[in-house]
Symmetry: C2
Subunit: 545 residues, 2 copies
């Protein structure tokens, strides 16, 4: 027996329809690539998205075609997204921080048919476009007056291209399982893997994200995603914000402390989200200028572990609630958020900060478990760590083209590649990547935990711990450290600092000082490269042979 | 091209799984029918629900079977729901306030196979059970010690029946469109109509309900639905509360002011919901005793229009935020909620109260429009009223057995039978039922607006306005009034009070005083009965013939 409720497929354009109907005049503010701050609203954005859809269709694009975007967060980028999805095509966000050859590989793998690109990235596209034969048209997100001289063929200025449509268009009636968007994850090894979001997963993800104990966004908020739309969907904010009808602010390409502060302040932003590096820059700017954050209520921090001092400064010095969050491109991206359950109401000071170092717990719609290498579930005791596996309607079931099938269990659990423990109250903490965990005599040592501790040393700028071959223990930890400018800590200082803070057998066997630690395009430490560099390193403790 | 996200059907038992996993020890407190306050938690409730499912299956019940419940809000009732749904059967809530012959009709129409019943209602079931041949077993929600002497065959005490299962059961793998629950609406005319909820609609409805600008329930809340589970799913609270993992409090059968106050106070309830009559009783109790509501933050009031004085007293005297809401059994039931958009931030005092008289705006997942009789859309100007039509994933697409098909447009809009206007900011206000609107010379007069005005008269206890035949205008309004005890207002007093508050041609042509106005089982005025009673009434203004 089936229920007798309406067929109402979960389609992304229903989000923008809702926003335009219920919150037509709510502002959308962007720092434009051309320079000035520009303003639109949900009603206008919807009309322009309809034009995008209509214009794409007129250009001959079809349901299922991948249409790439290479752009900062702006209303134009968002219109392009809704227009692409609304005509049944698939937005494909490209990360401009990737190497040109990676972009070429990804675009060819996705078979991108057209590209919306910001002025900023025209030179980059000039280098690669000829290597992507599927690409039929390049639309520069600007007007004719700002269109630069370019060697690119088939280039149009967005505003002129759009002006040829009148917006008299009806969104495509699609299956909610139809593809809506696409994003490649740049793993530290192997080829990038394509994640394909569906309309359903995007809509459900937005509904999950707005829940009070997740991001908890209300129409009364002013939301600014500093996290780019090309980084895992801007964590869903371009969908969850119109879903609740809140004012939306987008920082364009300027992500330095002063520019972010300016947007936060002049637009009275109450809610924002980005990776830790952005907040380090903002906090430094605030400290240098003595400025405050009177409007901001909440900041979501994720993408990599949030340093304790960032949480501490936001909460103590500026009265801003920090929500540490964990997710992945494959999870649309939300996985867990560290909002406070009543169980932890009494935590104060350092104890509260300790809790906030955890990545938090899953909202409804995300399931997680930790297992050993044989897929046996491990207990939630806050100590035992294992492979973190997840399940949910906004979690990848496979990669585009079937890559890396071993990450998907038969029972549909996705192996995140992260290693974590989960405490008795359901709070998860990442302790490592499964590739990076150090296996010493059969036991696991968490590289991340050691790194975090080392960052507490006043002279340490950055630290990375890797496993180095050891004749007796298989692997032992080596700590690689970048010193703060002008500081000269010695190996013994670092080890003395760690001593007593971790189990004896976790103590690094050695410390190596370097000028720089290599990073991926999304700002993560490239441990592969480090391991390569130190592959012949002989630990002083390794007295054999 | 399809998205590549996981198949993760929206099934109701995933809600209780999530609650048990992430919030295992959060309390569920019920005032038991036997008397004492009893406590359980989400982990235990899930285990007992698994037993219900297992036990039902062992008794031979099958996927799609309707299993009725006739019970107050309690943990046992909730376990029964999750158990029934989790084995693929369909809970069917019966409203004990219906007449026995209506219950018999409904149970036969639904072909109920079993019945979970509270002690309170055993005498009622004794009267009707023999007339429902499909009924195979009656499970009284109590233990053997409390099981009364009864003439009913096939009766078991719930606790003994449950004890035969060990809970080693796996929820059924169901299609998310499978039926999960059923509820009949008792229209004022014709046979009751069966609404059939699906797993998908229940889950999506819960996700919509918890959104910050809808009910906005958080894990930090203590939620008490006073609205019964048999009244449109307790407005979804038995699903949205475990979804966020909040403490859940259920008042059992005691809904008088003192009992409700006791639960609010001792359990520190922060969020509650019920129809206006319950709150009138509570406010009276508070006024008589001088008690306050220090813990309560929000109260959702719906089911019928919320009297202005209720909103005023809650907000001004007790610091409790009132959310006026509108919905219907056919909408799972949420339609609109009157939370405050930034557009209305500056409203204070009476202006704010005026806004709160409106039923509010739709969250994402509910679409609404108003049309004239020919299905032409009417403007959102806050004045023009028309038929209110809705669409959404938790809105009925048809009734069980195909009844009343004319309420469903070809384009899937459901005609609510309500008449409303919608203002420029999307706030809807019910002005009438389409059956009750008074058509005077082709123009519509809202009976409800007149009734609300009359309630402002200090001597008026209740008022109902109906259309009475008029030889010149077709229909003209007659106001039927119940006076407050000991008060003796005259027709002229009432009319003078209304004068100037409505357009001249809306003024009732006459006032009739009665001792009592008839109500339906769910507390709504039975206008049909009133129209019947006054069908030969001759208005003084009707000078013809
Ligand atoms: N809050 C966090 N703490 C630690 N690692 C994180 C956090 N958020 C994301 N990550 C890491 O980033 C990965 C996802 O990368 P991406 O798909 O590029 O967003 C995760 O698998 C984690 O390894």
């Amino acid at each position: 027996m089936l229920g007798l409720m309406q067929e109402w497929p979960l389609l992304c354009h229903k989000i923008i329809d809702h926003a335009a109907r219920q919150h037509p005049h709510r502002e959308i503010v962007s720092r434009s690539i051309e320079g000035p701050i520009v303003r639109t609203n949900y009603a206008e954005l919807r009309t322009r998205s309809l034009k995008v859809a209509q214009r794409l269709e007129r250009d001959g694009y079809k349901t299922g075609d991948r249409i790439a975007t290479l752009a900062w967060n702006s209303a134009r980028h968002m219109e392009a997204w809704y227009g692409i999805m609304g005509m049944g095509a698939v937005y494909h966000t490209l990360n401009p921080r990737l190497f040109p050859e990676q972009l070429v590989w990804i675009m060819n793998h996705a078979q991108d048919q057209a590209l919306f690109v910001d002025l900023t990235f025209v030179p980059l596209v000039e280098k690669i476009a000829s290597q992507v034969p599927s690409l039929k048209r390049i639309i520069v997100l600007t007007d004719a007056a700002h269109l630069p001289q370019t060697t690119l063929p088939n280039v149009t200025a967005y505003e002129e291209w759009l002006a040829e449509a009148d917006g008299d268009y009806a969104w495509k009636a699609l299956d909610e399982h139809a593809a809506a968007g696409m994003c490649y994850t740049s793993g530290t090894t192997g080829d990038p893997k394509g994640v394909v979001y569906s309309h359903r997963s995007n809509v459900l993800h937005a509904m999950i994200a707005v829940m009070p104990d997740a991001m908890g966004i209300s129409v009364r908020d002013v939301v600014m995603p500093v996290v780019p739309m090309f980084h895992a969907n801007a964590w869903g904010l371009a969908q969850s914000t119109p879903m609740v009808g809140a004012k939306f602010v987008m920082p364009g390409g300027k992500m330095d402390g002063a520019s972010i502060y300016e947007m936060l302040d002049t637009e009275r932003v109450t809610f924002t989200a980005a990776v830790p590096t952005v907040w380090l820059m903002l906090l430094q700017h605030l400290e240098e200028t003595g400025k405050k954050l009177p409007h901001l209520n909440k900041v979501v921090i994720g993408g990599s572990a949030c340093p304790r001092t960032v949480t501490e400064k936001f909460e103590r010095n500026y009265g801003v609630e920090v929500i540490h969050a964990w997710g992945m491109t494959e999870m649309s991206p939300l996985g867990t958020l560290c909002t406070i359950k009543p169980e932890y109401d009494d935590l104060e000071g350092n104890d509260r900060l300790n809790l906030q170092q955890k990545q938090g717990y899953t909202p409804f719609g995300v399931e997680m478990k930790i297992t050993d290498d044989d897929n046996n579930e491990l207990p939630w005791d806050g100590k035992t760590f294992g492979r973190l596996k997840v399940r949910g309607p906004a979690v990848s079931g496979s990669y585009f083209g079937g890559a890396s099938a071993e990450q998907f269990d038969a029972d549909d659990w996705f192996d995140t590649g992260d290693v974590a423990h989960i405490d008795i109250n359901g709070y998860m903490q990442i302790t490592d990547r499964s590739k990076d965990v150090i296996k010493s005599g059969g036991e696991w040592i968490s590289s991340i935990e050691l790194e975090n501790l080392a960052l507490g040393h006043p002279d340490v700028q950055e630290a990375a711990v890797i496993g180095v071959k050891h004749s007796r223990w298989d692997e032992r930890p080596l700590m690689v450290v970048v010193r703060k400018p002008g500081r000269e800590p010695e190996k013994a200082d670092i080890l003395a600092f760690l001593n007593g803070k971790v189990a004896k057998w976790w103590m690094p066997d050695d410390v190596a000082f370097v000028d720089e630690i290599p990073h991926t395009a999304t700002g993560k430490i490239q441990k592969m490269a480090l391991r390569e560099r130190f592959k012949d390193y002989r630990l002083p403790s390794d007295t054999a042979g």
